[in-house]
Symmetry: C2
């Protein structure tokens, strides 16, 4: 069995959402699994000096247009939420806690969070929304609510982000195939070619 | 005859070079011409606060890898020059001067400059190199050398850059199809779909 592909993302990143709707199918076509890894771009951007795209002069308006057009190009439903970007600590911490118990449950939860934000315009920064989505995916809501109050769950996410940055990750989505890094939803075609040819 | 596509670029931008090898053929397939417009990213970046990719923490190493991989993906010969990025005033000013006389000559010159830099590793910031490439493309070397000393040729490039920024252009390559803007060589597939469908 070949190595799983690693998929780093932020639940608030539009291009991460677009990639999240495609990456599993691309990997499966080539007999690969995908390891999903949420992180917080806000923490990463403190190191790189980057800012959310929509806040960069001139680039902001273009980005809004490109998010929507790229979604149409990929055939993925998309609405830019009014509140954007949002903090995704609760969602990311919940993901790792759920994943430790049941990785299929964690995957269903991750899709539900992305779609709640980018299709239904819900506020995924609100822990109550996150708990509701987790419960709907099959999680124990009370146990997750209790876990979210512990220092362990915060440390876990912190360590994951530190490990990602130590690997050189500076943005999202960021996909690693064996040792080859790909940044951006627009690199999906290169990822496909890489998987098909074993590198090019 | 439909409107020409506009193609904004910097001769020192690797992704601009990659797009330059593809954009005319993509346009021609859909009965379109392309208007090439060199600009200076250094001037644009003063407004947006951006920096050359290779100088951004963490992003630098990735970018070098992505330049070369994207070139292989597109089937375009590419070597990152030792001296990178370089100032491209002489090349950009020469382009507009040549274009006022003969647009085919200007196009041959532009391809020659990109390839001299990204295939042969020549220093295109050196006006002597630029003059040699222009002469080889069929230009009057002495007349161009004289023109490069005039304030008119400097003003012309300045005005072109100001006009581009007034249109919201913040990076390169930047392609406008009718009123739709596309940033990045990785948007070539979306440009193709746009031309094919008349918008999506």
């Amino acid at each position: 069995m070949p190595n799983p592909i690693e998929f780093y993302f932020d639940f608030s990143s539009p291009y991460s959402y677009l990639a999240s709707e495609k990456i599993d199918a691309i990997a499966a076509k080539h007999g690969r699994k995908v390891k999903w890894k949420p992180l917080l771009l806000g923490v990463v951007f403190k190191t790189t000096g980057a800012a959310p795209l929509t806040q960069v002069p001139l680039k902001g308006d273009y980005s809004r247009r490109d998010f929507a057009r790229s979604a149409r190009y990929l055939g993925v439903p998309f609405n830019l939420p009014e509140k954007f970007p949002v903090a995704t600590q609760a969602a990311a911490r919940s993901y790792y806690w759920l994943h430790d118990q049941d990785c299929d449950l964690a995957r269903r939860f991750a899709h539900a969070v992305f779609r709640a934000y980018y299709v239904d315009g819900r506020d995924i920064s609100d822990p109550a929304t996150v708990l509701e989505l987790a419960a709907a995916a099959g999680a124990d809501r009370a146990a997750l609510a209790a876990a979210l109050e512990t220092p362990e769950i915060k440390d876990r996410l912190k360590r994951e982000i530190e490990a990602a940055m130590a690997r050189g990750i500076f943005g999202a989505p960021y996909v690693i195939v064996d040792d080859e890094p790909f940044w951006g939803a627009d690199r999906l075609p290169q990822i496909e070619m890489w998987l098909e040819s074993g590198g090019f």
